[in-house]
């Protein structure tokens, strides 16, 4: 169907058909997974049939109470927002230096920031968790935030560095020649120019933090579990795990939380944003 709407006649190539078939299979799996979980979460009983026998929302209230999801969602949002704010505050200035300066040892610093992104989280996660426990931070919110900073700060640095590099350094020089001091160069000129990049990096960090399982799992406990970890614990708890539908309900809540955060975040990143900013500053 989609093939006929292509601008160019690609139908002649069998290879193209192959690609479309592959994508169709992927879509079937993806939607199947998504719909199956949603249907399951609303189902009463679902064993040997195409669809559950009757629908209910009881699973949600049950799951909400049983796993203290109010608290878990709160923790998830708190951790995600804190990690985003801290990694932007720490990462953007560092990215600025890496984008604009050449200094002795720059390559070593770059490598230092690259390693946590390249290494499997478990590799540094386990020693890090051990340190956390030995400092008495195990199972605390602080520990969860701290471990999540390890991949997030380098991530912000690595995405912001090229973004800053593409901003003409002459613009900063121009601001200085107009009499702007360092602080004013940052607040009046650089910050507005960096906003789109910062927001993009922030959204990616947000998604990664909400979805990051391994590191959080190693240091969290009751009261500091994020949603993914709570679901995992539900699925693997002793005695074969909780009822499947409860887990499904939790998974739907997870996806919904993720989507809400994404939608909220995306509200702040839109292409007209720069124009709007000009309108605002005109009034001052």
């Amino acid at each position: 169907m989609a093939v006929s709407t292509l601008e160019r006649p690609l139908a002649a190539r069998p290879s193209t058909w192959f690609v479309w078939a592959g994508m169709a299979a992927f879509a079937v799996f993806l939607l199947g997974i998504l719909i199956a979980v949603v249907v399951d979460s609303f189902g009463r009983q679902w064993f040997d049939t195409w669809f559950p026998e009757g629908l209910t929302t009881d699973r949600y209230t049950e799951a909400w109470d049983r796993f203290a999801l109010g608290e878990v969602v709160g923790v998830t949002v708190f951790v995600a927002v804190t990690v985003v704010v801290v990694s932007v505050l720490v990462g953007v200035p560092a990215a600025y230096v890496l984008a604009r300066r050449d200094f002795p040892g720059k390559r070593a610093v770059m490598l230092l920031f690259l390693l946590p992104v390249l290494m499997p989280p478990i590799t540094y996660g386990i020693p890090l968790a051990t340190v956390m426990y030995s400092f008495g931070l195990g199972r605390t919110l602080t520990a969860v935030v701290l471990v999540n900073l390890v991949p997030s700060v380098p991530f912000v640095i690595l995405t912001m560095t090229p973004f800053i590099e593409q901003i003409n350094p002459a613009i900063e020089s121009a601001a200085r020649m107009c009499g702007a001091r360092t602080r004013q160069v940052f607040t009046r000129v650089l910050a507005p120019l960096l906003v789109p990049g910062i927001l993009a990096a922030a959204i990616l960090v947000l998604v990664r933090t909400v979805g990051l399982f391994e590191l959080t799992f190693l240091v969290s406990g009751p009261g500091s579990d994020t949603l993914v970890v709570a679901i995992y614990r539900g699925m693997t708890s002793a005695g074969g795990g909780e009822a499947r539908q409860l887990i499904s309900a939790m998974s739907v809540i997870y996806t919904a939380t993720m989507l809400v955060m994404l939608v909220v975040a995306l509200r702040f990143v839109n292409p007209t944003q720069l124009v709007a900013q000009v309108k605002e500053t005109r009034d001052d």
Partner: protein, 376 residues
């Protein structure tokens, strides 16, 4: 309008990782003067400008404004204005906000900012574009904004870093006139960096020709155009023929040279020696294309090519240039560029002559040249 008497650069130098990008720059600029720094890319002219602006710290020398050292001040406290090659407008601010930026930094009252911004925008004829963002303007308009942004502060010194090099040929001519007009009407002291000698000659009161981080010659456009002190400067001043040659004889101020790859006795030119020369020296001969006289008949009697001061050759290229033709003439290993109103036949023989005072003979080496500052 400039509120100083003189700006003095004393032995200003800048090293980048052990390489001298600029060294020993001595220059005194008087209030109201338009000085152009001229040279190819990498000659140190932009480094000099950035050092003056304060965007690059000096490694040697000092900069004095009316005898007070300013090279230790950060750029924002020197009170200079700058126009960048890439315009460097603030992309998130409208034209008027761009122009107002510097005044806001100075904390001027709003009414003053408004009237000065309006005036500056009017000066560069952008009244109807005042509310637009830089991205919505053409290259020429953006450069006008950049100029307005620099001059609205009434800076003691305006620095311009190849401001026209990103514009197309026609716009460049218009903007050149515009810059000259602004300079004459506002009387702002200006330092202008360019690699285009036409721009430099038409705009500046004084030219500084630079090579490999050092000053090659300083003088008025007229001085540099008429009497360059090295073939390097001559090359910039429209001497399109810079020919390697060997000195045959020297007498008085005149030197007879032979072009390479020509028969003994043939293709000899007589020119004015610049500097000390002796027979056998390797030299460079500089001649402007329009100083050649192209003859299609052999000069004098039948003994073609033996008349001293006459170079015989074969026409290899003819280009139509409106009233004239540009002609490429091959003689020995050398291609000579000449101009003539009558187009010769490609492949035909011609004889080129040039007046002795228009043929400049320079020593081959550039390092021996002592930079001469001609008092203006």
């Amino acid at each position: 309008m400039s509120d100083f008497d003189s700006l003095e650069l004393r032995g200003v130098g800048r090293r980048f990782g052990g390489v001298d990008a600029l060294s020993g720059l001595d220059l005194t600029i008087k209030s109201g003067e338009f000085v152009a720094l001229l040279g190819p890319s990498g000659c140190g002219k932009s480094t000099a400008l950035n050092c003056l602006a304060g965007l690059l710290p000096l490694t040697h020398g000092e900069i004095l404004l009316d005898g007070k050292r300013i090279d230790t001040l950060p750029p924002e406290r020197r009170g200079f204005g700058m126009v960048f090659q890439s315009y460097a407008l603030f992309p998130h601010l409208s034209v008027e906000k761009n122009v107002a930026f510097g005044l806001q930094m100075q904390g001027r009252p709003r009414a003053e900012i408004e009237s000065r911004v309006r005036e500056a925008i009017k000066l560069v004829k952008l009244d109807e574009h005042a509310k637009k963002l830089p991205g919505q303007l053409s290259g020429g308009q953006q450069q006008r904004v950049a100029i307005a942004r620099a001059v609205v502060l009434e800076p003691s010194l305006v620095l311009m870093d190849e401001p026209l090099s990103n514009l197309d040929a026609k716009l460049r001519l218009d903007m050149r006139t515009e810059i000259r007009r602004l300079h004459q009407s506002l009387g702002l002291t200006t330092i202008y960096v360019t690699h285009d000698q036409e721009e430099a000659l038409s705009l500046a009161d004084r030219l500084v020709v630079m090579r490999e981080g050092r000053v090659q010659q300083v003088g008025t456009p007229d001085e540099l155009y008429e009497s360059p002190t090295s073939w390097y400067v001559a090359d910039f001043m429209g001497y399109r023929n810079i020919l390697p040659a060997t000195v045959v004889s020297v007498s008085g101020g005149e030197a007879v040279v032979q072009l390479p790859g020509t028969a003994d006795g043939g293709a000899r030119l007589t020119g004015s020696a610049v500097g000390v020369l002796s027979a056998g020296d390797s030299v460079r001969v500089a001649i402007r294309p329009d100083d050649f006289v192209v003859a299609q008949d052999p000069p004098g009697s039948a003994g073609a090519g033996t008349v001293p001061g006459t170079v015989p050759g074969t026409v290899s290229v003819v280009e139509y240039h409106g009233r004239e033709h540009a002609v490429g003439v091959q003689t020995g290993d050398t291609m000579l560029h000449a101009r003539t109103p009558v187009a010769p036949q490609v492949g035909g023989s011609v004889w080129l002559t040039a007046p002795v005072e228009r043929v400049l003979v320079f020593p081959d080496s550039l390092d021996a040249v002592v930079p001469v500052e001609v008092a203006a």
